[in-house]
Symmetry: C2
Subunit: 224 residues, 2 copies
DNA sequence: TTGCTTGTTGATCATCTGATCAACTGAAAC
DNA sequence: GTTTCAGTTGATCAGATGATCAACAAGCAA
């Protein structure tokens, strides 16, 4: 007799829907939003027709995938912690970016976000607008309020953000070797960023000539 | 009489192939590598069947697109300029990244590179390996050789690189507003980066407590 | 004009893809 | 056991897609 218990053919609608969405997140992350319903069904272990009992169309299914992947990724507590001036600024920055990275540095999030971005989904712009207003702007204000730093402009904040997010892009989009533990790299970026904004920097902080200036900076004299 | 001169129906093979590749670069950048040969043909102003006179398959056509977009984008003179120690380090960095940005911050390059990366093309990994070995590593060596800086590790170089490249990602992938002239933002990133690596940084460079350390950095004490 | 070469086209094929539907089936209710 | 309801399936449709091919036509030589 066969001891292996096969999954029951009939499932609660809740459970079946869950199973399909979970498989869809994984599948579309891998092959892109152009993946076929047939391949997805096979991977989910159901027939293709069944998908249309739970979702009215492929677009509807993708909607559920987006919701699953993006909804609730931005923890509102982060904002409170960013603002908590009892904690040293540096620690707040490092802590926030470690948490942020832990939230979005997954195969599914990174890739679906990028596929959706290329496809022109409005969702991405909404999300990044949110990041700018609710996360980067507060971070910037906190840095500006800290006496030890020159106030960075938003472009500087995006540069810090991009340098960190690029870790996830290297790993999950380009599939290049990247640190397993991104913590040290994040701390390094934050440390360099703050040190780069430090007030009254020593004149010879970098090589001779140009003075270090935060953010907007002057033109670099073209060579010769 | 109709003064408008229509394009001749018959073209030199060279010219026709050129016309198709040019249209293909633009088309696939927009819709992704899954775009159809019919839509492409319509956009190029030729029939779909004609594509197969110039390319044996869609994959073959995509090969030509990749070649067109990626080949020769990395100017070998950059390496010489990076190494030219007669020029101040800061100027070399700014100059290089301005040139690099001018080379790759185009709708076509950015998007095709990202589509190809998501699709798992080996091409991307080759290209970025090249960037790491021929560009970032020399930059790192030059910074290390400059007396005014602590030597950054490769992760720090990737963070600088990512912060700058993310400008192009914001603009061409996510289609968010971004500076038209990326020059100042690049100078700002370079300036902050170098200042962040400056030797013997003042102890209160950033907020109280942790010492600024370049690159690998220590753990951040978790709150409470 | 005639004939040849070759760039170009419309039609067509086999397959794939999103979507639909009648029929089947397992489990709970009676 | 029988009935009933709802989850599931195989078959199928219409349109899209990569690829092919015989036929057409523009330029050139004789």
């Amino acid at each position: 007799m066969d001891g292996t218990l096969r999954p029951p053919r009939r499932l609660e609608p809740e459970a079946r829907r869950e199973q399909i969405v979970a498989a869809a997140v994984c599948y579309f992350a891998e092959v892109g939003l152009g993946g076929t319903t047939r391949d997805l069904a096979q991977r989910a272990g159901v027939t293709q027709a069944l998908l249309y009992r739970y979702f009215s169309s492929k677009a509807d299914l993708l909607e559920a995938v987006f919701e699953r992947v993006f909804l609730g990724r931005l923890d509102p507590r982060w904002i409170a912690e960013i603002r908590d001036r009892r904690v040293p600024l540096r620690d707040r920055l490092c802590r926030f970016y470690r948490q942020y990275a832990a939230a979005i540095f997954t195969y599914e999030w990174m890739r679906i976000f990028m596929w959706a971005g290329l496809a022109g989904e409005a969702l991405n712009r909404r999300y990044l607008g949110h990041v700018a207003e609710r996360l980067l702007a507060p971070l910037r204000e906190e840095i500006a309020a800290d006496g030890s730093c020159q106030a960075p402009d938003m472009e500087a904040m995006w540069a810090l953000h991009g340098g960190i997010v690029y870790l996830g892009i290297r790993r999950f989009i380009y599939q290049l070797p990247a640190p397993d533990d991104v913590g040290p790299a994040i701390d390094g970026s934050v440390n360099r960023f703050l040190a780069g904004l430090a007030v009254s920097p020593s004149a010879e902080a970098s090589s001779r000539g140009a003075r270090p200036s935060a953010g907007r900076s002057g033109r670099v004299p073209s060579r010769r």
